[in-house]
């Protein structure tokens, strides 16, 4: 009986291809690890075109659907009024913070915390981004640089610029899971460290004897007071010595279209 000799070429070629693929992937990873700006610099200009077209295409479908409901004008009016009410609610929150700020600033006349703001259109946001990051269409060409603070709805501090490219910037939200930010709790401005929990949510631990109520405003230590969050829940632990304060940003990141970047 004659047997055909089994060819060893197949497995050898497959192994060679696998090694080549692993080496190529390791190379790509190394480039991204050692030169983190390389891929975004190359790809952001291309992806920005798609992101910009997305808002137009999605917006068109949304509006066509509403026209089909023959209540387009009512929907539009309703949305406008809802936005107005939400903006006014936030303004009221800002007033509390501004009142206490005013008192403390009387002794520090002559100092201003003015910044020039640049408007940025949000190109990408959570939940598309697996991290709590935004990509906006303002970059170094508009004077934006790493470290600049980012505000929403005028006065709500939401994050800072971590990387600025030619025409785009990457913004890390303060609510990034695990990120720690120094905050002042309530009108008595108790200093604390807030830890991000994602999606605009934060957690703070304070001694239980400090009185914090639901709805209290959280600000950040700065010459200009900016609303950072609003207390959502206060939970006292079983020992009664500590309390956990859960608070969230007053703006809904998923509904934002623009942010303001404060240039120093």
């Amino acid at each position: 009986m004659t047997y055909l000799r089994r060819s060893n070429r197949g497995p050898k070629r497959a192994r060679g291809a696998a090694i080549a693929a692993i080496v190529a992937l390791a190379l790509v990873f190394s480039v991204n690890y050692f030169f983190p700006r390389a891929f975004p610099s190359l790809l952001y200009p291309v992806s920005s075109l798609f992101w910009k077209s997305e808002s137009g295409i999605v917006g068109w479908f949304v509006y066509m659907g509403k026209i089909a409901q023959s209540k387009y004008s009512l929907v539009k009016e309703n949305r406008r009024l809802s936005d107005e009410i939400a903006a006014r609610d936030r303004s009221i929150l800002a007033l509390d913070a501004l009142q206490s700020e005013n008192e403390s600033l009387k002794t520090a006349l002559g100092r201003t915390g003015k910044e020039n703001h640049v408007l940025g259109v949000i190109l990408s946001r959570p939940p598309v981004a697996p991290y709590d990051t935004l990509v906006v269409d303002a970059g170094t060409g508009d004077g934006v640089k790493a470290g600049d603070k980012v505000y929403a709805e005028g006065d709500v501090l939401i994050g800072d610029v971590t990387e600025a490219f030619g025409g785009q910037s990457k913004i890390s939200l303060f609510s990034t899971p695990g990120r720690i930010t120094s905050v002042l709790v309530g009108t008595s401005t108790i200093a604390a460290e807030a830890t991000g929990r994602g999606g605009g949510n934060f957690i703070v631990k304070l001694p239980a004897k400090i009185s914090v109520v639901k709805g209290a405003v959280i600000t950040v230590p700065s010459i200009r007071s900016h609303v950072f969050g609003v207390v959502d829940a206060v939970i006292v632990d079983s020992t009664g010595s500590l309390q956990t304060i859960l608070f969230k940003s007053p703006v809904n990141i998923s509904q934002l279209r623009f942010v303001e970047i404060g240039r120093k």
């Binding site: 992937l25 390389a38 990408s124 990051t133």
Partner: protein
């Protein structure tokens, strides 16, 4: 099939929630033989959206996810003689 998954991955990377991209990546690894390219999508996702803060300080979540999914899919496909 491979090309369709590439298109789906690009769309999910740019427009869809991250979890939809994760499901597409998982499906691609199990349905396409030796889908090494998935790791490149993970690296690009980290480059696009990741910052030095990462998630609890770890900035390569998407890359790690794709490597794990690819490895698991390879093992399962080999065992099942897919």
């Amino acid at each position: 099939m491979r090309l369709i998954f590439h298109i789906a991955l690009v769309i999910s990377l740019l427009y869809l929630p991250w979890w939809a991209g994760a499901v597409v990546a998982l499906s691609a690894c199990f349905l396409v033989d030796r889908f090494y390219e998935i790791v490149v999508y993970g690296i690009i996702a980290d480059a696009f959206y990741g910052t030095r803060f990462g998630l609890y300080g770890f900035g390569s979540v998407a890359t790690l996810y794709t490597v794990i999914v690819f490895t698991l899919a390879s093992i399962v496909r080999k065992r099942l003689a897919w």
